[in-house]
C-alpha cells in the first residue's frame, strides 16, 4: 500500500500497477476530478498540481513517486467552502471560456505569486507559458492574476 497525502488528507492506495500517474490516481482513485487530463504528455499544463509547494505536472509523475510528498490540488485551495482569491479573480475577470484548462491555470497562478514572478504582465505571460488555453482567454487570465498580485497575493 502507498500513502498519498492530498490536500492534507492521507489516502491509502493499492498501486497494483506502477503505471498509475499522479493524475490518474487523483482522478480515478480519489475522485478528485478537478485536475484535468489534457495532453497527458506534459505539453499543456491542465494537470498542474503542487507537490511540496512547487507546481508540477501530475501526468508525468508516477503516483508511487509521491509517497510522503504534500500534494495540493484545485480542491485544496479554498478554505471552508470559500474560494481562494485567485479562483474569485478568475470568475470576476471571466478568465476562461470552456474551463478545461482553468484548474491548471489557477494552480499555476497561485504558485506564480508564491514564486514572486507576477511583477509585470510580461512576467506573468512568460512564467504562465506552461499553461495553454485553446479558447484564448489569455488577456483575462493575465488580468485576474495581475489583480490578485496587486492585492498582495492571497494565501497559498
Amino acid at each position: 500500500m502507498t500513502t498519498l497525502t492530498v490536500n492534507g488528507v492521507d489516502h491509502r492506495l493499492d498501486l497494483d500497477d506502477a503505471r498509475v500517474t499522479l493524475l490518474d490516481a487523483l482522478r480515478d482513485r480519489l475522485g478528485l476530478t478537478g485536475t484535468k487530463k489534457g495532453c497527458d504528455q506534459g505539453a499543456c499544463g491542465a494537470c498542474t498540481v503542487m507537490a511540496d509547494g512547487k507546481r508540477i505536472l501530475s501526468c508525468l509523475t508516477l503516483a508511487a513517486q509521491c509517497e510522503g510528498r504534500e500534494i495540493i490540488t484545485i480542491e485544496g485551495l479554498g478554505v471552508d467552502g470559500v474560494l481562494h482569491p485567485m479562483q474569485e479573480a478568475f470568475v470576476r475577470h471571466d478568465a476562461f471560456q470552456c474551463g478545461y484548462c482553468t484548474s491548471g491555470q489557477i494552480m499555476s497562478a497561485v504558485c506564480l505569486l508564491a514564486e514572486g514572478r507576477a511583477g509585470s504582465d510580461a512576467d506573468i505571460r512568460e512564467f504562465m507559458s506552461g499553461n495553454l488555453c485553446r479558447c484564448g482567454a489569455y488577456p483575462n487570465i493575465v488580468a485576474a492574476i495581475r489583480e490578485v498580485a496587486g492585492a498582495g497575493g492571497g494565501h497559498a
Partner: protein
Amino acid sequence: MREFAYFRAADVGQAVATVAADPEASYLAGGTTQLDLMKDGVLEPDQLVDITRLPLRGVVREGDTLRVGALTTMEELAADPTVAGRLPFVREALLLGASVQLRNMATIGGNLLQRTRCRYFRDPTVPACNKRRPGTGCAAIAGAARMHAILGASEHCIALHASDLAVPLVALDAIVRVRGADGERSIPLTDFYLLPGDTPDRENVLVHGELITAVDVPLPAEGTRSGYLKVRDRASYEFALTSAGVALLLDGGVIVEARVALGGVGTVPWRAREAEDILRGAPPGPAAFRAAAEAALRDPFTVPGTAFKVELAKRTLERALRTVSGVTS
C-alpha cells in the same frame, strides 16, 4: 505503456547495481522525458529505478568550480546565486527552456540525457528511424525537418539535441561525473556526446547502468560577460530553431577569451571552437563577429526543411556577440 516494475533505490550504490544488473532497466528522475516516451511506446523498460530521493541534489561551490548535483532541478540551478552572478548564460538557458512546471521536475542530469524531439523518433508507427530501430533509415531527411540538425548530421540521422542548458555547459568545458558498477569516472561534456555517424542509436559514451551523479562547471574569469540568445517559433515554452551561448572577456579593446556554443543546429550541443579562435585576440566588431559566424556554420548538412537555419544560426550568433560585447557597430 508497457507494464514495468517500480523500485525506489535506497542509496546510489543500490541504484547503480540494480540498473547495471538488468539490461532492460532505466533510471527515473524527473520523468519528463522518460515517462513521456514510455507513453508513446518509444521506451519500454521493464523496470524503473526511482533515484529522486538519493542525496545527489544541490549546488556547492568549490574554489572556481560549481559542483551541481545531478538531481538538482532546473529551477533550483537557475535560482543559485553563483549561477546568477557568474554564469548569466547558464541561468538564461535554463529559464528559456520548458515551463516552470517542467523545470521544477526536470533534473540537470536528465536534461543532459534528454532524447531528441524528432517526431519520427518519437512515433513508433514510423518505420524508418535509425536511432529507434538501427538500419531502418531516416524518415526525417525527406520529411518535415524544421526542428532538425544541420551540424554533425549525416544521411543516417539529422535528429537534434534540443537541450538549451547543454549549450553554455559545453562552452564552459563542464565535466560530467559518473558512477557505474565498476566505479566512478569523469567525462568532459565536450567528449560526452557521440555524433550519429552510422550508429545514431548510440548518443553518448555512458554504458548501461552508469549514473550521472554531478556536473562540475568551471567558473569563467571574473569580468567575463555572457549571454544566451534563443530564436524560436513562439515567444515562450518552445524549443530553439537556433540559439547561441557566448561568454567573452574583453580587455583593452580586445577579446582575450571567448567561449561559443550553438543550440538548435547540432546533433550534439555544438561547441564552435573555430569561432572562438577567430574571436580570441580580435577587436570586437562586425568583421570579427561575421567571420566567427561563418566559421561556426562551415560545412552544414542541410535538407530542404533545414536549409534556412544556416543563415539564421549565423545571425543568431552575431547578435549574441553584439549583445554580450556591447559592440553593435
